[in-house]
C-alpha cells in the first residue's frame, strides 16, 4: 500500500470533518449542542457550489458557504437562545429543513440533467520551503488553502480558548451562563456569536466538499459527516487539539478501509466500512472519558430563572 497516498487521503478526508467539528466546538463551548451540522453542511455545500459555478471563483464559493451556514443556523439560534426551545429538536429540524431547501434550489436552478453541473475546484498552493521537506512536504504542504485554513483554525482555536480574555469569557458562557452574566458578559450576544461561528464553519465545511474536494453537488454529498464531527468533538474532549486528533483518526480509518476494500474484493465491504466506527469505539473504551464537556451544555438559559 502506498503510504504517501494514504496520508494524503487521510488529510483530505479529515479536513471537512475537522472544519465542522470545530464549528460544533464553538457551539458547545457556548452551551449549544447543535446536531444540525449535516443540514448546515448541505446548505453550505449548495451555496458554495452555486456561487463557485456562477462566478467561477472557489473563494467566493467558500464565502457563500459561510454566509449560507450562518443564515440557516440563525433559525436554530433564535429558537434555542431566544425562545429557549429544545436544542436537539432544532438540530433535527435543521437536518430536515436545510438539505430540502438546498435540493429545492438546485432543482429549480439546474433542472434535471443526465450529468451533474461542474464547478471550478480550488487549486492547491504549495508553501515554499516547507513543501521541500522530503516525503511529508509534498503531502502536507501542497494542499488547497482551505486545508491550511482548517489547520490554522485548530491552532487559533487553541490559542483563543486558552490564552485570550475573550476566549475565557466565551468558555464561561458554556459553563455557567449566569455567573458570566453577573460578570458583565453579554450571554445572549455571545451565544448568537457562537451560532454564527458555528454556522460559518459548518457552512465552509460543506462548501469545502463542493469547491475543494469534488466539483459537483449532489443531494447526498454530506453523507453523515456532521454526525461524525459531532462525535469527534466529544471524542476530542472539547479541545481543538483533541478534535484534530479525533478527525485524523477518523479520516485515517476511512482512508484505510477504502484501500483495504480495493485489496480484498472477496471480503464483504461492509466489514471494512465498519472499521472507522469500531476503531473509534475501541479507542474510546481504551482511554475512557470522564470529562463531560461544558457544564451548561444543552441547557437553555433564562436570566430570571433560578
Amino acid at each position: 500500500m502506498d503510504i504517501g497516498e494514504l496520508i494524503l487521503s487521510t488529510v483530505r478526508m479529515a479536513t471537512p470533518i475537522l472544519l465542522v467539528a470545530l464549528a460544533e466546538l464553538y457551539s458547545e463551548r457556548a452551551g449549544l449542542v447543535n446536531i444540525g451540522l449535516d443540514g448546515i453542511m448541505s446548505f453550505g455545500a449548495l451555496a458554495g457550489f452555486m456561487v463557485c459555478f456562477i462566478t467561477g471563483s472557489p473563494f467566493l464559493g467558500i464565502l457563500a458557504g459561510a454566509m449560507g451556514g450562518i443564515l440557516i443556523n440563525m433559525i436554530y439560534a433564535y429558537c434555542t437562545i431566544s425562545l429557549c426551545a429544545e436544542q436537539i429538536v432544532y438540530g433535527m429540524a435543521i437536518n430536515i429543513f436545510a438539505p430540502a431547501v438546498a435540493s429545492f434550489i438546485y432543482r429549480i436552478y439546474f433542472g434535471v440533467s443526465s450529468t451533474l453541473a461542474q464547478d471550478t475546484l480550488m487549486k492547491s498552493i504549495a508553501i515554499p520551503y516547507l513543501k521541500d521537506i522530503p516525503f511529508l512536504g509534498k503531502l502536507l504542504f501542497d494542499q488547497t488553502p482551505m486545508v491550511y485554513f482548517a489547520y490554522l483554525m485548530v491552532v487559533f482555536t487553541a490559542i483563543f480558548f486558552n490564552k485570550t480574555k475573550k476566549g475565557l469569557n466565551y468558555k464561561a458562557v458554556g459553563e455557567y451562563p449566569k455567573a458570566a452574566e453577573t460578570l458583565g458578559i453579554n450571554v445572549i450576544r455571545q451565544k448568537y456569536v457562537a451560532c454564527m461561528i458555528c454556522g460559518a464553519l459548518a457552512g465552509i465545511g460543506g462548501a469545502y466538499l463542493t469547491t475543494c474536494y469534488v466539483n459537483t453537488y449532489s443531494d447526498g454529498v454530506v453523507a453523515g459527516r456532521g454526525f461524525i464531527a459531532l462525535s469527534a468533538v466529544i471524542f476530542g474532549r472539547w479541545s481543538s487539539g483533541g478534535v484534530l486528533l479525533a478527525c485524523l483518526l477518523f479520516g485515517f480509518c476511512d482512508a484505510l478501509q477504502l484501500r483495504l476494500q480495493i485489496m480484498n474484493t472477496s471480503t464483504p465491504y461492509q466489514l471494512f466500512q465498519m472499521i472507522p466506527y469500531v476503531c473509534t469505539l475501541v479507542a474510546l473504551a481504551a482511554f475512557g472519558i470522564k470529562k463531560a464537556g461544558p457544564k451548561a451544555n444543552g441547557k437553555p438559559y433564562m436570566r430570571e430563572e433560578r
Partner: protein
C-alpha cells in the same frame, strides 16, 4: 387560570402548525399549484380511504417504538441516540429466526418478537455498560453503534442472509407474519403492540416505585445516590429497556410491514424518535400522539406531492417548518415574559389569597 394555561398550550402550537401550512401553501402557490387542493390531497392521503387511514397507522407504528425508546432512556437522564441501531438489531434477530430456523406459525412469531426484544436490549446495553464502567459518553457510542448496526444489516442482506438475485433477505413466512386486525385493511396487530407498550411505559414511569426512582435518577443523579438508589443499575436498566423497546419495534416492523431486510430499511427512525419524544416532553402517551401526527404528515405529504407535483423537497420543507414552528410555539408559552403576561389577570387574586394565609 389552569384551564387558560392548558388552552394556551394547545392553541399556540396549533396556530404554529397552521402557520407552517400557510407558508407551505404560499410556496406551493408560487410553484403554480393550488394550495387548497394541496391540503385536500394531504387529508386524502392520510385519511381519505380506510386503507389510507390504515397506512397512517402502519407508518406510525415504528415511530411510536423509537419515540418510546428515546423517551424511556431520557427519563433516566441518558441520551440514547442509538434507537435506530437497536431497532435494526431487533429486526435482524427477528429476520434471522423467522427465515433460517425453519419454524413457522404464531409460536414462531412470539419467539421472533422475543428475539427482537433481546437483540435490541443487548445492543442498548453496550452504551450503558461503557458508560457505567468506562464513563464513555453514551451519545457518541450509540451513534457509532447505529453505523455498525446498519453496516451489519447490509452485510446480511448482501451476503450472509441474502436470498435470490437482489440484495435482500428472504421474506418472513406468511404464517409467522403479524396478522391484520381486519382482513381488508393493511394495519396489523403491530399498532396494538405499540399502544400496549406505550401504556406499560406510561404506567411504569408514573405509577410504580421503580419508575419513580428512575425518573428521580434522571433528574438528579447525585441526590438519587444519596437517597439510596443505585444510579448505575438504573442507567443500565434504562438502556436495556429502551433498547428492548426499539428492538421490539424492529421486530414488529419486520413481521408486520416490511417482512425482509433491504437497503434503506429503517433509515431515520432513530432520530425521528428522539425528536418526537422531546416534542412530547418525554411523556409516553404524548409520544404516541406526536408519532401519529408525524405519520399523518408523512403519508399525507406523499399524496400531496404526488397530486400537486411539487418537488419532494418542498414537502420536506413544510414538514420541517411544522416542527420548527410547533416547537417554537411550545417554547413561547413557557417563556417567563409570556407566562407573566398569561398570569397577568389572575395574578392579583392568587397573591391576595396567599397573604390571608
Amino acid at each position: 387560570m389552569k384551564l387558560k394555561k392548558t388552552l394556551m398550550s394547545v392553541l399556540v402550537p396549533l396556530a404554529s402548525v397552521i402557520l407552517a401550512f400557510v407558508i407551505g401553501a404560499i410556496i406551493i402557490a408560487a410553484l403554480g399549484g393550488s394550495p387548497v387542493q394541496a391540503v385536500a390531497y394531504l387529508f386524502q392521503g392520510a385519511f381519505g380511504t380506510p386503507n389510507n387511514f390504515a397506512s397512517t397507522l402502519v407508518k406510525a407504528t415504528p415511530l411510536i417504538f423509537t419515540g418510546l425508546c428515546a423517551c424511556f432512556a431520557y427519563r433516566c437522564g441518558v441520551f440514547n441516540l442509538g434507537g435506530e441501531g437497536q431497532f435494526i438489531m431487533g429486526s435482524i434477530a427477528t429476520c434471522w429466526v423467522a427465515t433460517t430456523w425453519g419454524i413457522e406459525g404464531p409460536g414462531a412469531m412470539v419467539l421472533c418478537l422475543l428475539c427482537g426484544i433481546i437483540a435490541g436490549g443487548i445492543w442498548g446495553a453496550i452504551p450503558g455498560i461503557l458508560k457505567i464502567t468506562r464513563g464513555l459518553n453514551e451519545m457518541i457510542v450509540s451513534i457509532m453503534l447505529n453505523y455498525v448496526a446498519t453496516l451489519f444489516m447490509g452485510l446480511l442482506y448482501t451476503s450472509v442472509l441474502r436470498d435470490g438475485n437482489v440484495p435482500q433477505t428472504a421474506a418472513v413466512p406468511d404464517a409467522t407474519q403479524l396478522q391484520r386486525i381486519v382482513p381488508s385493511l393493511r394495519v396489523t396487530w403491530g399498532i396494538v403492540i405499540a399502544l400496549a407498550v406505550a401504556a406499560v411505559v406510561q404506567y411504569f414511569l408514573f405509577s410504580t416505585s421503580k419508575g419513580f426512582q428512575l425518573r428521580a435518577v434522571g433528574l438528579n443523579m447525585t441526590a438519587s445516590r444519596f437517597n439510596g438508589f443505585s444510579v448505575k443499575k438504573y442507567i443500565l436498566f434504562s438502556f436495556v429497556v429502551s433498547g428492548a423497546i426499539a428492538g421490539l419495534g424492529g421486530s414488529v416492523e419486520l413481521l408486520g410491514t416490511q417482512y425482509r431486510l433491504i437497503s434503506g430499511y429503517a433509515v431515520g427512525y432513530g432520530f425521528d424518535g428522539v425528536a418526537m419524544a422531546l416534542i412530547a416532553q418525554l411523556n409516553p402517551v404524548a409520544t404516541v400522539i406526536v408519532a401519529y401526527f408525524f405519520a399523518v404528515l408523512r403519508t399525507g405529504a406523499n399524496t400531496m406531492q404526488a397530486g400537486t407535483g411539487v418537488p419532494t423537497s418542498v414537502i420536506d420543507i413544510i414538514q420541517a417548518l411544522v416542527i420548527v414552528l410547533a416547537v417554537a410555539g411550545f417554547a413561547l408559552v413557557k417563556l417567563p415574559q409570556i407566562r407573566q403576561w398569561l398570569a397577568g389577570r389572575g395574578g392579583k387574586k392568587t397573591a391576595e389569597k396567599k397573604e390571608e394565609k
